[in-house]
């Protein structure tokens, strides 16, 4: 094998990789924000006293978790226009990733809900809080704190999955890396740097999350 490492060509396009990283992070932040709302709604539905709501939540989780994200993305970008809904590539990807993360977050929040002790809910009811007040002031804060580590892990997972936006030519990190790879043929360097950027971003996010977890009191 005569291949010697030359990182110069990759460094020349490093700004492209960085802007790609920023786009991936942006996609993940917006998608997970929407997915958090979906997940909260669906998690409360999954423990609701109405069978229809529980079934609906279960159906959502089971359908979306068992489909490849790429299929959802292609459906949103290429198939939706046939029904008259045309989204640009950013909107279709964020929509697909939001739907996808919402299914995972349903399970995260559901586990958080189940972890709230029954006695604590009874204590809130016993001082006269209504069901809604109990959910807002007692159940939700405890659930969110308990769910924080898994919420963070889900976010990291979704950030990595933002690489799939490359399939519809969103210029995020993987797309840019592939372009540099094809343009320069500095194959090993390109993928080492791209992978390194993903790992570095994941490590930084994980550290920020640990910091966040420490700031909130543990129960």
């Amino acid at each position: 094998m005569d291949y010697s490492l030359h990182f110069g060509a990759v460094w020349a396009s490093f700004d492209k990789l960085l802007s790609g990283l920023a786009i991936g992070l942006g996609l993940a932040v917006v998608a997970v924000a929407i997915g958090t709302l979906l997940g909260l709604l669906s998690a409360f539905a999954s423990v609701a006293p109405y069978r229809a709501l529980r079934s609906l939540a279960a159906l959502y989780v089971s359908l979306v978790r068992n489909l490849p994200l790429l299929v959802l993305v292609l459906l949103a970008y290429f198939a939706l226009p046939q029904t008259g809904i045309t989204l640009d590539k950013y909107q279709s990807f964020v929509g697909a990733l939001a739907l996808y993360s919402g299914a995972y977050l349903t399970e995260v929040f559901r586990a958080g809900l189940i972890s709230v002790p029954k006695g604590v809910i009874e204590a809130a009811r016993s001082i006269g809080l209504t069901r809604l007040q109990t959910n807002v002031s007692v159940v939700a804060p405890i659930m969110l704190r308990n769910a924080l580590p898994s919420l963070g892990n889900t976010f990291i997972g979704m950030f990595k999955d933002s690489s799939i936006a490359a399939a519809i030519a969103v210029p995020e990190l993987t797309f840019e890396a592939r372009k540099i790879n094809v343009d320069t043929f500095r194959v090993i360097e390109t993928w080492t740097v791209a992978s390194g950027l993903y790992i570095a971003a994941c490590v930084v996010i994980a550290m920020l999350l640990r910091g966040l977890e420490r700031r909130f009191p543990k129960f």
């Binding site: 978790r65 489909l67 459906l75 933002s162 690489s163 799939i164 993987t174």
Partner: protein
């Protein structure tokens, strides 16, 4: 609908081939991934720190890198290294490395959850370390790792769809080729989605059933 069914009939062999290849890729990856993950899990649990280090590094790199990046790297890198891997082989390599890290972590978690008294009891009756692993520790760990292991299968079926991006003729690429001919975009993406759901829901339910049984003991 009739038009769709006609097109589906025309495309039946292509779709079947794609479906079969998807299942084969996932099966091969979970096989290699399990062999690799078995070694990784044992090293991470019991090796001295200097031996543990490279395995830890491997797991963290795999878990910090998107699967698609692994796939693209496995597709492009071997050629410059003088290896010739076809796209399917490159894809299986990437998915196996991903699964190996994943299963390795799973196994580590399960091994470390075994109460230390088990190993002490095994040693006290004179078992060597390989015997201890084979007869006491691995059977217990395998039990609790089984449901998430089945779930790894779901992840691999889903991950195999990414191989369409390096030209592997699995289910999604076949679907895209068919759509390229008849422009029935929604119909064929939905059909492919149903096929993915069919495999994954079976695996998912199997995982849940096993989890219930494991949970009972």
């Amino acid at each position: 609908m009739q038009v769709f069914l006609d097109q589906l009939w025309i495309a039946r062999f292509a779709l079947w081939d794609g479906f079969l290849l998807t299942v084969q890729i996932a099966a091969a990856s979970i096989l290699f991934g399990t062999l690799l993950g078995g070694i990784v899990g044992i090293q991470l649990s019991y090796a001295p720190w200097w031996l543990k280090l490279p395995f830890r590094l491997y797991v963290d790199i795999m878990r910090g890198t998107p699967v698609l990046v692994l796939i693209l790297a496995a597709f492009y890198i071997p050629s410059v290294a003088g290896l010739s891997l076809g796209p399917t082989q490159a894809g299986i390599l990437a998915l196996s490395l991903f699964a190996g890290a994943h299963i390795g972590e799973l196994l580590r978690g399960s091994l470390q959850a075994i109460p230390p008294g088990q190993a002490e009891a095994g040693r006290s009756i004179g078992l060597t370390f390989p015997q201890l692993l084979a007869y006491v520790l691995l059977p217990q760990a395998a039990r609790s790792a089984l449901p998430p292991w089945i779930n790894t299968g779901v992840e691999l079926i889903k991950g195999s769809s990414l191989l369409s991006m390096i030209g592997v003729g699995e289910l999604l690429l076949k679907t895209q080729e068919i759509i390229g001919r008849n422009f029935m975009t929604i119909q064929f993406y939905v059909f492919a989605g149903i096929l993915y759901l069919a495999i994954n829901i079976v695996l998912d339910q199997l995982g849940k059933a096993v989890e219930r049984r494991v949970g009972q003991h």
